[in-house]
């Protein structure tokens, strides 16, 4: 603040405001997915047969590919923060760009996956399992896109004359991005894998 007073001092917890807020928001996000996972488990237990048959129709390959993409993007994200902190602007841009690319890759694979489902006449209303599948992966995809928007802004700004030199902001966005990865880490086995084929 521009105030002459020293009210706006160092954050008491030594964690930047934005970063702290992001953690709080992530706690909230965990609860959001808790709602879905909790519901999923209940309905899974009352529709076991249905769930295991339906899960068998999902394309595990796409999911595996997407898992790799997201983990990779987490890595590049972490590296871009690291490089910005070091003042390594070139590498920062490179890794941020790669992260965005991964995001796009993820969305593209997801789109292909959805379209093949639609072409097999599988829709959210087909049965409860697919309702969960589309809603949970859909919300996850929205999160991916929501993360890519500010990321793209930062990326573009980094190429302007002023450059982009806010390591804490990038780190904060990174937290969010890792979290999105983390949700997928659970979605992957829960939706695609842990229904043994019979």
């Amino acid at each position: 603040m521009s105030s002459g007073l020293s009210l706006a001092h160092e954050p008491v917890t030594k964690v930047a405001h934005g970063k702290l807020a992001m953690w709080i928001f992530l706690a909230s996000e965990i609860m959001f997915f808790t709602g879905f996972f909790g519901a999923f488990i209940v309905l899974r237990n009352s529709n076991l047969e249905l769930f295991s048959h339906s899960a068998a129709e999902l394309t595990k390959g796409y999911a595996l590919l997407n898992t790799f993409i997201l983990i990779g993007s987490s890595l590049t994200m972490a590296l871009s923060v690291l490089n910005l902190e070091k003042g390594n602007i070139g590498k920062f841009k490179l890794f941020l760009g790669l992260t965005i690319l991964c995001g796009f890759g993820f969305i593209i694979v997801k789109t292909i996956e959805y379209t093949t489902k639609f072409s097999h006449h599988i829709f959210p209303w087909t049965n409860v399992f697919f309702s969960f599948y589309f809603l949970m992966t859909g919300f996850h995809a929205i999160h991916v896109i929501a993360g890519m928007i500010p990321m793209t802004f930062m990326f573009i700004k980094a190429f302007t004359k002023k450059g982009y030199n806010h390591p804490v902001k990038v780190e904060t966005l990174g937290l969010y991005w890792h979290f999105v990865d983390l949700v997928w880490i659970f979605l992957f086995p829960v939706l695609y894998l842990i229904f043994p084929a019979h």
């Binding site: 002459g4 807020a21 709602g35």
Partner: protein, 630 residues
Amino acid sequence: MQSATAHAHETLGHDSHGDHAHHHDVSFIRKYVFSTDHKVIAKQFMLASLFFLFVGGLFALLIRWQLAFPGEAIPLIGNILPDTWVSDGAVTANFYTQLLTLHGTVMIFYVIIPLAVGMFGNFCIPLMIGTDDMALPRLNMYSFWLVPPAGLIMLTGFFFDSGAAAAGWTGYPPLGPSSGAGQTTWLISLFLIGFSSIMGATNYMATILNKRAKGLEMFQMPLTIWALFITAILIVLGTPVLAAAISMQLADQYLHTSFFMPDNLLIGAPDNSLLTGSFVQKGNELLEHKQLLGGGGQPILWQHLFWFYSHPAVYIMILPGMGIVSDVLATFARKPLYGYKAMIFAIMAIGFLGFIVWGHHMFQSGMNPLLGTTFMLSTIVIAVPSAIKIFNWLGTIWRGNIRFTSANMNALAFIATFIIGGLSGVFMASAPVDIYIHDTYFIVAHIHYVLFGGALFAIFSGIYYWFPKMYGKMLNESLGRKHFYWSFIFFNLTFYPMHLLGVGGHMRRIYNPYIYEFLQQYQPLNQFITVAAIILGFSQFILIFNILWSLKYGKKAPRNPWQANSLEWAAPAHPGHGNFDTDIQVYRGPYEFSHPDRETDFYPQWEKPKDEPQGDEKAVPETKEHSQSA
């Protein structure tokens, strides 16, 4: 608002008011509409919620009219309302259901939560922890600006052919998703307001953790801040679960999924696609086409998810009130708050337990009765921290020197009504007792005793208490007293008899109770309630009048009109952007009233100790010697 002129008069800001220059190049829009100043946002919350209070109150009065005089034309407005709402000037059954749904929703999500959390959270937190603004002012602004559109979206429901949401404020499926576009607007509206809550709460937590003034320990914060802090935690952890549930219900409605729809339902899939614009609910005619797609879901699942949020939500509504009352009582009893730490632990306990008792709303829902036993026990346990609070408040006024300002009277009324509301909660907490009174007016009585009698009286108290700091003007005390007496008396006359109705078996959400023979005898009592409710409603105009009158003609407020201790009173009488005109250093807790070693009966947190051997409150042992001096 008045603040422009009032601020110009502000001469109390002594030395370099650093951000003065910075003030003037802010446009009107940025200053009063899309402002990031927490005080302006607080005022915006206040304005919006008071508006919604009248909307929700009007709905309540329409409800009351129907219950007292079923089928009779509503006076004054009955004949000008559209046919979709009334027939022969009387509320229709369908409209009644919409009214009660939106009454509950508006009051909870658009009145109590925005007032208790939005308004006081925004106003009090930065001031009471001695800082210039929220941690993330921009986020704060967004959190307000989601509220008006969200509220309006919900109200638009009334203008659809199929009407507004009509599944109760609880929106239980299958009724919820099988109804029309009104339900959709309701769901979207709740999603938005929930998002707004989360943004606000995130900000509060970050602010309280990160921006406390120099020297202010967590355990030196006033209870209002503690309560808001725990409230924020509840919001952050509870609301998203509701958001997930809402998404599922929306999907059930529009994507014909069946999260909450079991197999073989005989309800019409409503043709209410917003895309085609045909808001018609085919409803009951198409019996044979009533098969919903899918199946495999569970209606009770919604109830679990809903109450997982909405039970903590009732504490979201009461905790800030409890905080406010603690501060107001201590200030006006001129006594340290009794059991400061116990009070904080009680709030924490309520917050924690609040998350494991949601099932008490579902005793008769068909969930596993074993779960009923579990929830009965946890619910009963939650009454204990509430009892601790009641006793500590009584301890606070014990041997005090109590001033009966409007703020304090409302705070005392809070205690009085919360005791009744809480005790009726204990009836319902006992699962077997709940069997009979569940979904009767006993519950309605409980709701209003804790929400109106509890939360709203505390909010009134807070408004009287902080108005001077908000607007730089004092509220008129004698109007304030009138408002208090009328509200308090007619509140009790309105809602106490509802217990009796409930024990009589009077169901809630009933359009015309007199269909039932055993309820016909209660019409006089219902009429009595209605008359009291109308007077109660109109008493609220005294508050509005007081606010408007005082803004214009009210006495100018001094910096610390109540001679209170907490940091907000260190700020100028009507603080501008940046809040404080001096550096704030905190030396002691917020409740150092009537310190025996001092002339004055208060000892502000920011006042530098005279160089005594040991300069803080720890130096004053809580020994028996002091009891003589009192």
